[in-house]
Symmetry: C2
Subunit: 219 residues, 2 copies
DNA sequence: TTGACAAAAATAACACTGTAAAGTATATTA
DNA sequence: TAATATACTTTACAGTGTTATTTTTGTCAA
């Protein structure tokens, strides 16, 4: 019975490990959620490890047991943003079949995400845009790249359908992306300061951008 | 002779005041120049009052005698950037007479400024874009607004010349500006990380953007 | 030239920040 | 129950911006 006893022991050990691993992930998640709340309140510059720790009832140094450093935690917050962002693009892509409409729907989804998650957007695409290529998704790919692929797909299909001129898909995607990003990032910076950049006028601007885009990219 | 003596006294006092004011402006300028050097080395996040002070042989608190706080000094650094930026746009405007070429020349000047002053550009148009409307020029106007007016003028003249469709000048200017800003800001973020955003490819992108713009904004 | 005064600069201190090393409980295992 | 591994805290360091206070310096009038 010795071998049986051993396997039972091993099973217990296994479960124990799993349980502790689970508990570990739970507190990690708790820290992350506190960090997200904190970030959405204070933004990139006001974000502080010590405040996150205090908020969740831990000592600042405890966070270092779950995240390498401040950047690592901030990166996790960023990743969560990318996941949500990719979802938004995915549904926009899925709910439209006409290539040109799809392209615009993606643009609007991008725009809406930016305006409804200003602090996240600023970190993801302005302060720490270099993370776009790193943020991992559930599938193991980079969420940032993932959302990019969605946009590029829409571009490629628009090309195939003959509604926009053929060309390097990456370059064309970057071109379209740049335009919307430019509008969104300036809107976030100027909102509440320059009247022409209030939400209503910015929406008009996006519309105008799409018009120009469609006409300008005709085959 | 009492009144003459008094006036002489007053003149001396006047000169003395002027001299001290001049000296005051000199050290203020010295601090500002050290701050600019510091900023161009360390960037927005790494910029530190204490390092500026040490660099110039002052105690940190001395800076507060010449600038209200860190933001005030940073704003002065920013303003200097806007002055240079406006100059770049001005010469681009002046050296071209054809409306469409002028528009493109302005775009290229914008692009070149961004790529050759990445840290300044990021502060001016990304981190602290709200300062655009405040940065004062020698003429007493806002340099940021000044540079904006140059761009808008070029847009208006292109409309008058009939090379781009009529429309709200501000909206059209914002549209064009957004596009270039989008490209420049993403280029600065992605340079050295994503191959498609190296300088050569970004230049192609700007070219493509102008093509799309001209075609898309045709009357 | 000296003494009063004002301006400029420095000290000291406070409340923060991120982070590393060392110590202490707490829980798990033999 | 004793040994050990894990989770967490304490302490500490080197920074940061900023304020109030004190010292030094320079200017001016008697």
């Amino acid at each position: 019975m010795r071998s049986v006893s051993q396997t039972r022991q091993e099973r217990i050990k296994q479960r124990s490990l799993e349980r502790r691993e689970r508990s570990r992930q739970e507190t990690r998640q708790a820290i992350l959620e506190a960090a997200i709340r904190m970030f959405e309140r204070e933004g990139y510059e006001g974000f502080s490890l010590r405040q996150v720790a205090e908020n969740i009832g831990y000592t600042p140094t405890t966070i270092y047991l779950y995240f390498k450093d401040k950047d690592d935690l901030l990166f996790a917050v960023c990743s969560q943003g990318f996941t949500e962002f990719t979802h938004a693009l995915q549904t926009a892509y899925a709910t439209h079949s006409d290539p040109l409409e799809r392209l615009q729907a993606l643009g609007w989804a991008y725009f809406e995400f930016g305006l409804s998650h200003p602090l996240h957007y600023q970190m993801m695409f302005m302060q720490r845009a270099e993370w776009i290529t790193e943020a991992p998704s559930a599938k193991g790919d980079a969420e940032g790249s993932n959302s990019y692929l969605i946009q590029m797909n829409a571009v490629i299909e628009a090309m195939k359908a003959g509604v926009i001129r053929m060309g390097d898909p990456i370059e064309t995607t970057n071109l379209i992306w740049s335009g919307i990003h430019g509008i969104v990032s300036l809107a976030l910076s100027m909102k509440g300061i320059v009247p022409k950049w209030e939400e209503a006028e910015t929406r008009r601007l996006v519309k105008g951008y799409f018009q120009m885009l469609i006409k300008g990219l005709q085959p």
